[in-house]
Amino acid sequence: MLAAKNKSMLDQLINTGNKSTRDGFGAGLLEVGRQNSEVVALCADLIGSLKMQAFIDEYPDRFFQIGIAEANMMGIASGLAIAGKIPYTGTFANFSTGRVYDQIRQSIAYSHKNVKICASHAGLTLGEDGATHQILEDMGMMKMLPGMCVINPCDYNQTKAATIAIADHHGPVYLRFGRPGWPNFTPADQKFEIGKALLLSEGADVTIFSTGHLVWKTIEAAKALAEEGVSVELINIHTIKPLDEAAILASAKKTGCVVTAEEHQMNGGLGDSVAQVLARQLPTPIEYVAVNDSFGESGKPADLLDKYGLSTQHVIDAAKRAIARK
């Protein structure tokens, strides 16, 4: 019964065509700009990379080109928020976090400013530019800040929906997305609920919690495991903070073992957040698919995911290890 349901749910997860999550951001920004006249956008010389041109074309007076000065951008965003605007900042994830951590900490997070920090080119899948740009620590840095909401959507449609939804959340948000074309499989008309885990397939043997680009890898893994008779409960945690603890506990209780998957360091990422919940409330075997205390390097996204342990096969192996520990 459950196996059939598992298979039918997995069968519905179909790639409707590759599109980048940053394109989803660009589309979402235009849409939220149309819906809310207080939305303004700032960019540190990466309009094309962040796909912000459509917003700028329609609302040139609500856009600020900051130049290559990310610290100043965070401060200006704080000021715009003080006066009632809803600023969306755009630059690479690396320059949206580590480079400006203190500005975010003092002028935005500690000061409770309604700033949306929108960060593209996160993780290894940035590819050839290499480790200087492939930030893998950003979610950890952001989730440590009190009051910061941290979201890492998994495809074009989810990123677009999240970009629109965060305007209605009063407070600082870190929205993380990426560079490459990537399978687009969530519904185009979805309503994005911050902090609400998304059940992708029901299963009985192991739960895989995943976020961002790695969600598609876990879908591929779950389909392969289903062929071997392993039933995977697949849950997308798009919001790392606030974390949907109830969904995590309920599923871990049901399957008895857990895998987390993310394009991020193991230290400080989704896996850490899930492990903290389980360690305190429901000790459960957990395996991590994440980068293990290493910087990345130049290369094609698929090759990098293979080399650094984030491929479909790595998810399958982790699921089997978790099941063996039950």
Partner: protein, 282 residues
């Protein structure tokens, strides 16, 4: 016409408050606070149109941002005397459960504070953001921001300095507290600032000079700065002050940058400063 004598009386009380707050907390930054007292007094009691019932967004008000947040004692005192919060609350400065944090913060909801500051170099950027929003909103009021001079060693300052003229943020008045001192000694020895007038001019600012410990000059200077707004350039006032001004043994040295007076020194300092508006209850 400004009542200079009245402003001087207010300033004397503010200076007493600075000495008493830092003494009671046995910590804090009296030196820079005393040096900027005349500026703060003129701003809050003469120059700015502002509403002590306090709205965070400050729409249709002049707004002030303190970038060098460590001189919080002077900020708190003028806010209290302006009616933002009861002056007796000054006695809680730097104590547990207080809204008067060591460095200004919004977290505890202290009226008058719009952003946290203390980690240096960030205030001009924030003020620019507010100034841009005012322009978008058709609000013709002015945004003021104060930085230290040592603070100009922070890189973000120059990011902001480049932005404001490029985007013609001409409803912004930056004042630099040019006292020539920082924690480790004179700025000339620690990290020389060079020709500040030439630097800000080269970035495209309208630069003025002002004597910061002469109330008449401060009021005239700030009025002059205000008259220069709306002309396509942000305004920078290089304000000469003396750290510790108003208390003879604290004047002109960096030694009182981050050090409170002991009981005897407090008595000596207070004897030099007339109680004009009534001390807050300790």
């Amino acid at each position: 016409m400004a009542d200079i004598q009245h402003l001087q009386k207010v300033a004397s009380q503010v200076r007493r408050d600075i000495i008493r707050q830092t003494h009671l907390a046995a910590s804090g930054h009296p030196g820079g606070s005393l040096g900027c007292t005349d500026f703060f007094t003129a701003l809050y009691f003469e120059i700015m149109e502002h509403d002590p019932s306090f709205n965070m967004d400050g729409n249709n008000e002049d707004m002030f941002f303190l970038s060098n947040g460590h001189i919080s004692p002077v900020f708190y005192s003028v806010l209290a005397h302006s009616g933002y919060f009861p002056k007796d609350e000054l006695s809680t400065f730097r104590k547990i459960d207080s809204r008067l944090q060591g460095h200004p913060a919004t977290h505890e909801g202290l009226p008058g504070i719009r952003v946290a500051s203390g980690s240096l170099g960030q205030g001009i950027s924030v003020a620019i953001g507010v100034a841009l929003a005012k322009k978008m909103n058709g609000d013709d009021k002015t945004v003021f921001v104060l930085t230290g001079d040592g603070e100009l060693q922070e890189g973000q300052i120059w990011e902001a300095a480049m932005f404001a003229p490029h985007h013609k943020v001409d409803n912004l008045i930056l004042t630099v507290d040019w006292n020539g001192q920082q924690i480790d000694g004179p700025t000339k020895a620690v990290m020389a600032l060079g020709d500040l007038e030439a630097k800000f001019k080269a970035f495209g600012w309208d630069v003025m000079h002002m004597e910061g410990n002469d109330m008449e000059a401060v009021v005239a200077g700030l009025n002059e700065a205000k008259s220069r707004t709306g002309k396509g350039k942000p305004i920078c006032i290089l304000m000469k002050t003396e750290m510790g001004y108003g208390v003879d043994f604290m004047q002109g040295t960096h030694k009182w940058h981050g050090k409170a007076t002991n009981a005897e020194q407090t008595e000596n300092a207070l004897s030099q400063l007339e109680e004009t508006l009534g001390d807050y209850a300790a």
